[in-house]
Symmetry: C2
């Protein structure tokens, strides 16, 4: 049974959507370009006449660029040129975040997630002239329109997109930002803005729900930019409203049509809940929320404490352990890093709530586990932490050892340096883990490396033509998708990727 | 410029839609059957469980039968069985008047009219549970549903169709009707009911507009059944509101989104306008309407009078001459029949309005033309009227000679008998002309033949499984379509086919 008090509090923090109309900025076409993301870019078509002065017949198609990725609804105003509407108008529409979605529109879908996520529609309109707003919300920058049937030449009097988000205006860049940094900041803010809907969505095109792990990163960027703490609190209350019977916090909840639980649990996300709470408290001073959430945050560690009784777990935790989308990644050391990291934040919460004996116990446990990890999982020859029975070496393990404070200061810097220069190391796949890499550099006092990595990784995305940051970005494998073999299913605007707006302000 | 006074009067007679919810009566499947219309019939599937107790996965499909053809909107209430809605739901829907539309749904469309008339949709619904009403109005008896994508097993809690028409209840059959006559009457009334929307539509699936020629027949059946003279008057005012610059009355107007002219003219329809007015006057006594419309009705003859100055036109009238959908039909004699028939009614109107000299002139002209037709176009050897330079023999010519009073009484009966027994005669294609054939029998005093033909022609439609009467019915060519080669484009419920409810009451 959901916690109705928490649901009420979530309701009370429902953000009001800002809405604004956006007109297309250009008529474009897809062009093959090996230097562009996935081999496709949009090129402006130098049309002499505005769209409303042109007309289209059966089989014609065109692509509009709205200038930036937006989330909202499409409104079409149509008339037939001769105003003799002998039959309905039938259109095929594709809403695209990136050029490949339009350029490869006719390929058979080969993803493992539902085909229904692909944002395409066939609509039939009986009466002309007509202004029609499609009922669904889309995330898009580009709109492909194909005239499948029209009684005579069809005129698009007006096509506009009514964008929506809890926030509309971007926070200004810092004066010292370089032009690239300004652009990185803008794309990061746009990514976060597009995800700030009824809750903090992970992605407005696909998934469209609230994830605990994503929320934690979004809360950081939000604090550095929009500072809409009402939405953060709403999201926290929603997650907390649906504990499982044994007390597990859901990794994810749905907010529509009515909030409901996903019955999904991710161990590392659960351990990080304490950090989300502590960060929010530091930003807002909301001690009441800390108090309300403390039992739930503490419960997550209780549930798994026994697995770490010998200092290091003997097997993978019996849950979904996420850390990163990365085939073959052993997550045991990184998960324990999350456990220690969260536990240290839980201790801070306990201390703030004057639960001193709790606090002390958590601190001691964190200290014990840290020492055991060094003793059992640090390979002194390589100078790196290993994970699992096969002693796998991954960036994920090193990052979480630094974040968890298992190694600190000069040791942390040495570890990150070894990691950087290790050849056969499993690298991060998602911007989610790259965000934690930036944080590890920051905590270790390696601000130059932090900025260098930020410019390298997120800067590459800009150079590839992105204006928002995606769910997955691996420069060497642009068509990589975690869901089968069809990159159209990938989310190009994913809130866990909005790191730059936060870290650029940490200089 | 439209006549704004007439438009206002049309507005004032806008019917209020009756609405009623209809649930499906059976789960059915398409079955090949050479004795059924177009080789397909629906067979009831003996499902043990009601639809709402079943669930469906990707790729599943089913067909619902709503028991009779209805016009209106579809409302779906959906939920996913596990209430875990990981992704949107995508459905393919086909709304069908007759089984072939579903059975042959995947054939490439080969009609000449717009593909947009085919009533199929792909819809994507983001939130579950959800009740969704599709925005368009459909004409259908059968609904095909294919689950293209669902996050888990999908449950159709409720599927209902909100039917709409200006009339809801059928007029009771006469006590003396046989069971087949009762069924013929019911199907005819259903056909008319489905077309009684904002105006008298020709067909609710395809075309969806007001035609002058169809209106005239509908007005007859309406007088014998629903007696909704407001809609007849609204339709007359709409047509009269859009005369062309030279005074031609449009053959057709559109009523949505705002009334506008089709710029279509059909000579024979224009001549028959006078008959529509006179019939309406006889039913209602509305002399004011006669007075308002008299100049427009008279104008139609003025425009073409010169072509008949020698008694018979020397060439086809320079206009669309309809008479029937029939390849190769020579329409000259039949058109002149319409001219005379209309002129005689115009004379009656003139007399009623005390325009005696007009009336006399029209009567004299009708008499002159009748004599000339007998002199120039009657083949005494064959005993039949011919048409055009090649002396074509068609049923259309004979029918209109009887209706126009060119031949009467025993001569008319002889002519119809010759027609019946002539081997190489062009036969009627559409129920529109079959309606006129019934009327010719009636006028000639051949009520038995009238009823025999009614039972033969419309009775065959019932035997083929129809519950409404179609635009085109030729028993020997079930897939005949006036628009290319794809019978899916045909209208199965076409108001010009609702004759039985009128003629059965003429016994």
């Amino acid at each position: 049974m959901p916690n109705l008090e928490f649901l009420e509090k979530a309701d009370a923090r429902m953000p009001v959507s800002r809405r604004w109309d956006v007109s297309p900025v250009a008529l474009v076409k897809t062009v093959r370009d090996s230097s562009a993301w996935q081999g496709w870019r949009m090129e402006t078509v130098h049309a002499r006449r505005p769209l409303a002065e042109r007309s289209f017949q059966n089989g014609d198609s065109f692509i509009l660029d709205f200038g930036e990725e937006l989330v909202g609804k499409l409104k079409l105003t149509l008339r037939s040129k001769e105003n003799y509407n002998d039959s309905p108008v039938r259109l095929r529409l594709i809403f695209a975040e990136f050029p490949l979605e339009i350029a490869e529109r006719n390929r058979k879908y080969t993803g493992t997630l539902s085909r229904a996520w692909i944002q395409d529609e066939v609509i039939t309109l009986d009466d002309m002239p007509q202004t029609y707003t499609l009922p669904r919300v889309y995330a898009m920058r580009y709109l492909f329109v194909e005239v499948m049937a029209t009684p005579n030449r069809l005129v698009f009097e007006d096509i506009r997109f009514t964008a929506r988000s809890a926030v509309r205006d971007f926070v200004p860049p810092l004066p010292e930002f370089s032009p690239e940094e300004t652009e990185l900041d803008r794309a990061a803010q746009r990514t976060l803005r597009n995800c700030m809907q009824g809750v903090l969505l992970d992605g407005p095109k696909r998934d469209r729900r609230l994830w605990l792990g994503d929320l934690r990163l979004e809360a950081q960027v939000n604090a550095a930019t929009f500072r809409r703490f009402d939405i953060i609190e709403r999201s926290i209350y929603l997650l907390a409203a649906f504990p499982q019977e044994d007390g597990r916090i859901p990794a994810c909840v749905f907010d529509r049509p009515e909030p409901y639980d996903s019955r999904t649990f991710i161990s590392d996300y659960a351990f990080l809940f304490a950090d989300l709470l502590w960060f929010h408290y530091e930003q807002t001073g909301n001690e009441k929320l800390l108090k309300e959430m403390y039992p739930l945050a503490a419960k997550q560690f209780e549930l798994f404490r026994n697995y770490y009784r010998n200092g290091v777990a003997q097997e993978e935790l019996p849950a979904w352990n996420f850390i990163d989308w990365c085939d073959g990644l052993n997550r045991m050391t990184a998960c324990e890093g999350c456990y220690i990291f969260g536990l240290r934040k839980l201790a801070k919460i306990a201390r703030r709530l004057k639960k001193y004996s709790d606090a002390k116990q958590f601190e001691q446990e964190a200290g014990f586990l840290s020492n055991e990890l060094i003793r059992q999982k640090f390979d002194p020859k390589k100078g790196l932490f290993v994970s699992g029975k096969k002693n796998q070496i991954s960036c994920a393990s090193q990052i979480w050892m630094v974040l968890a404070g298992v190694v600190t200061d000069a040791d942390a810097r040495t570890l990150l340096d070894k990691m950087e220069h290790c050849r056969n190391i499993l690298k991060p796949v998602t911007p989610y883990l790259h965000h934690h890499l930036l944080e590890a550099y920051r905590i270790a006092g390696e601000k130059d490396k932090m900025l260098r990595h930020l410019h390298n990784y997120w800067g590459s995305m800009l150079k590839k033509g992105m204006n928002v940051f995606p769910e997955v970005f691996v420069e060497e494998n642009e068509r990589l998708t975690p869901y089968g073999t069809d990159p159209r299913i990938n989310s190009a605007c994913h809130a866990w990727s909005c790191a730059p707006a936060y870290f650029l302000r940490m200089k």
